[in-house]
Symmetry: C2
Subunit: 253 residues, 2 copies
């Protein structure tokens, strides 16, 4: 019989970051590049693309710029990487467009697919993520994940880690900060969520926060779980254990 | 083998009105009033409450007032009805609060429950309705209906039949008017959706549009289906037939 961590008593609502936290974007994006590029280079290119995306988001946020359509950001950053850091490789316009499109169809990490329905039977589950609503709908459909609502930066007109992003989503679902658990694989996101009064749990992923010190992250969040082994018993299953939710074989209807 | 109506070729997206179109609010609200009131009076009271809600929404819209929290509107209108039209009956504050809360938990009409999953396998399905996001989440959870997104007037800061409500939702899901079918049990809603270029289908319900002429409604919308008999083969099943979607016994996963 699993026991809830006492500090999570009273949680009714779980906010999820989406792309890196719930979805294996890396496999899909790496596979979208042409085969003539060696796999190790494709792997590096997709990781560099993702890192440059976060740098761009943060830079825009610090300059007070409005959210940009994520497809446009991805296209611009890929072109820059191919011109500079990955100058040995060139991709046609059609190949670049296919890579940009690949961000719209992702499989869920195995631990998310297995566990989210169990959590949804007891908690309200929401996506709270930078990006467009179109992207979020495509990702929810392709990954076959069912959340109660999808809140994008485009929809709210705000960008994480702006505290107003979290507070606006909270207001729309009429929950209070201390009733809400934020689940993410990005320390910057959880630091902001903690500052507005949420409980926070970090899921470590192979593909995210590559330049963060995990020792520091462990000090900065309430809970830390390892989500790197790609099995159904890591990551979100660890969050379920903290909440005392049993993961029976049979999913609730 | 069902055939799609030729004029619906190219439809990718279905917008649904929620409360009266998808949900049997009348049974739940009528049951929320105390037993000491005769059933026929409770039935009339819930219908009058709903009619006064629409009159209030339209009046606010025409005055250019911002959307009001639907719980607040319901509470105010119920108090007015009990003071005037239903002056023979008084409800305690707790009884009135319970009646207001009853709007947050509804069962789906049988035709919606059976058919929505079939449609969602082929089309994107969205709620586009006046109300709060909190209400929409409660209704989606209690009715166990799964839409790709819930767009409330609160979320968009707009009220139907403002054409910008439909256009803003369309923009967020990157669909075009002629690719979109609006399904509603309210003529005012479909007239506005048709004006922005949507295809429109009216589902007639026992509980909605009691003061509309159905002959006029039939002239004003593209398609009209009867959804009054409470079976799984009426209403949305008729919409599925127009779209050429077969309703097999086994639901898609």
């Amino acid at each position: 019989m699993a026991m809830m961590d006492p500090s999570l008593q009273g949680i009714t609502t779980i906010f999820f970051d989406f792309m890196g936290t719930c979805l294996d974007w890396h496999t899909g994006v790496t596979a979208s590049f042409p085969d003539r590029i060696p796999l190790s280079t494709r792997t590096q290119l997709s990781l560099a693309w993702r890192e440059s995306f976060f740098a761009d988001i943060h830079s825009r946020f610090e300059k007070g710029l409005p959210p940009e359509d994520i497809d446009r950001t991805h296209a611009r950053l890929l072109a820059q990487l191919l011109e500079h850091e990955f100058g040995d490789w060139s991709l046609s316009e059609a190949e670049q467009a296919a890579a940009v499109r690949s961000w719209h169809a992702m499989r869920a990490w195995p631990d998310i697919s297995m566990t989210l329905q169990h959590l949804r039977a007891k908690y309200e589950v929401y996506v709270v993520a930078n990006g467009t609503t179109r992207l979020q709908v495509d990702l929810a459909r392709s990954s076959n994940l069912h959340f109660d609502m999808l809140f994008s930066s485009q929809l709210l007109g705000l960008t994480k880690p702006d505290p107003n992003f979290y507070l606006r989503a909270l207001d729309l679902v009429a929950a209070r900060p201390h009733e809400t658990l934020m689940v993410a694989a990005h320390a910057y996101d959880l630091r902001a969520a903690k500052d507005v009064g949420f409980k926070t749990v970090y899921i470590q992923r192979e593909t995210e926060d590559l330049s963060e010190s995990m020792d520091q992250v462990k000090r900065d969040v309430h809970f830390f779980v390892d989500g790197r082994d790609g099995s159904t018993s890591c990551g979100l299953a660890g969050v379920a254990a903290l909440l005392g939710v049993e993961l029976e074989d049979k999913l609730p209807v």
